[in-house]
Amino acid sequence: MKTGMRKERIDRGIKVRSDSIYALSSWREISYLMAPRALLVGGFLLAPLILYFFPYWQKVLLIVCIYALLSMAFDFLANYVGLVCLGGSFFVGVGGYGAALLNKYLHFSPFLSIPVAALGGAAFCTFFLLPCLPLRGVYFAIITLMYPLMMTRIIEAFELFGGTNGMMDISGFANPWVEQYFLIISTLVFLFALRRLAVEDIGLVIKGIKDNDQSVRASGINITVVKAQALFYASFLGCFAGAYLAHTYMWAGLSMFALDFSIIPIAATVVGGGGSLLGAVVGAILLVPLSEALRAFGPLRIVSYSLILTVVIVIKGEGLLNYLSRKYSQFERWVEI
């Protein structure tokens, strides 16, 4: 700290004046606004090429996308709708088994079974979570945590869909490039579509429910319908991830209902910063490779993982992306007092 000086923060000249109209005066400012987006999109699109000689990390990249989808779903429900959903693995499992069934019995190709399983699975998940929608906070969270456990037990007990062995011989993708770009492009499209939705009028209604649900009802809007709609979007993302996994692993089984799919997205959202969807994706980009790299630590992996998480949360509680975007849009300079 310099004596006689203080740090001053100034917002950069570019401020969003209206919803979609930027007050821009030059190409420099446009590129300034677009740069982070371009970095994200470009990075995702180039990554498979850059990782060409590291097939293992190409696989990690796919897992990043899977968790990015799940983190977006979590962030959307938690920070836009106000529902804390611990049922990421419910979505993955339903999507995964759905795609496997469609492929095995109806011989759908991956490009058909994934979207159909995502839509059908989302409808299935929404239907079963519908009775819980009036619940708030921890009660909704607990029920969503129980559903995947219940599904596992049911499948085990009745030996459904191959029982504990799962369903094997699901068709995979013919071409590894198609396999990678299909997921990467879908992830990007869903990210920007969901961000778009959030600033549309329906997005405001969704946010209104989180702010003050009674006011939304007093505006003549059925909040159960809107919540169900939001839940459908979120479970669509999760089921899409699950359906994709079934085709990459060429297998669907009980581990698709594993707790990881519910917990890691929450960690990713916290680390990256909730409320923007982008933060959730950034969190997944950081956490998934990190947890892979930590495999070297063997049994201590989870310890180091937890330590890093704790440190990030304690030091930058607002989440990395929120912190960075604040820094990015402000100058800091020393001024004399």
């Binding site: 209206s18 919803d19 549309e200 009028d201 329906i202 405001l204 209604v205 946010k207 209104g208 702010d211 003050n212 009674q214 006011s215 939304v216 009802r217 007093a218 505006s219 003549g220 809007i221 059925n222 909040i223």
Partner: protein, 251 residues
């Protein structure tokens, strides 16, 4: 237009409303008065479906609306303000109005000033805020609703109802917490609305201001309806005097 028959509401053992009967016809302004805790807000909550009445009948335009969901009741044309204001704190004031303008009621009836297509809604919301007394050229309409003082929040409540193009508007103490000059600016607005055909029920503690607009008044105390009639008649009633005595003097 609205007929309430034998309406009762118990919370556990507490009787908040006891056998209330009243009616209001189209174009009227009905005042509702009563000391704190007498059941005025509970009455509104029952009519608008936010809580379920224990017994009785609520008939709106020939239809029994008791037991209906609040959003369905709104869409029939009954809109209410909340005594404890319920803004969307994290949104700018004008964005608060996008939600009612987006809702099915505004879309069906055309909403306030017949607007309601996407894109126009921001402008309509700003116009509407100006109508209820937000300074158009100032920053106030763009401020986060959570940071606004009471006076503006009460108007925002009113604006939310206006956005819905109500047939029956129910105001739960929109004058309380406002300064004399703020009230003075709201009275003409209420009168103007009434002239344009909106039927209004006004719950108020500010009796002097209420009597300027309401021609007929109903008084309740401990959940019982005491009397209904012209303001002067009601204020002359012994029971009303008794109910108000000791509590706030009413004015």
């Amino acid at each position: 237009m609205l007929t309430v028959r034998n309406l009762s509401k118990n919370f556990g053992g507490v009787t908040a409303l006891n056998d209330i009967n009243f009616a209001i016809s189209k174009g009227e302004i009905l005042g509702v008065i009563g000391p704190n805790g007498s059941g005025k807000t509970t009455l509104i909550n029952c009519i608008t479906g936010f809580i379920k009445a224990s017994a009785g009948e609520i008939v709106f335009n020939g239809r029994n609306i008791k037991g209906m969901q609040p959003h369905n009741i709104v869409n029939l044309g009954i809109c209410r303000t909340f005594q404890i204001m319920r803004p969307y704190s994290s949104m700018p004031a004008y964005k608060n109005l996008i939600i009612p303008l987006y809702g099915p009621r505004a879309r069906k009836t055309g909403g306030w000033r017949g607007g309601g297509r996407h894109g126009d809604r921001n402008i309509i919301a700003l116009d509407l805020l100006e109508e209820v007394g937000f300074e158009r050229e100032s920053k106030v309409p763009y401020k986060l609703a959570g940071t606004l003082p009471t006076g503006y929040l009460k108007r925002l409540e009113l604006a939310r109802c206006l956005a819905l193009n109500p047939d029956l508007l129910i105001c739960d103490e929109v004058f309380s917490g406002l300064s004399m000059s703020e009230i003075a600016s709201m009275v003409p607005l209420i009168e103007k609305l009434n002239k344009s055909g909106v039927t209004i029920i006004m719950i108020e503690h500010r009796l002097k201001e209420l009597f300027k607009v309401a021609k007929r008044v109903m008084a309740i105390s401990y959940g019982d309806k005491i009397i209904e009639g012209l303001p002067a008649e009601v204020m002359a009633n012994e029971k009303v005097k008794e109910a108000y005595l000791g509590a706030d003097e009413g004015v």
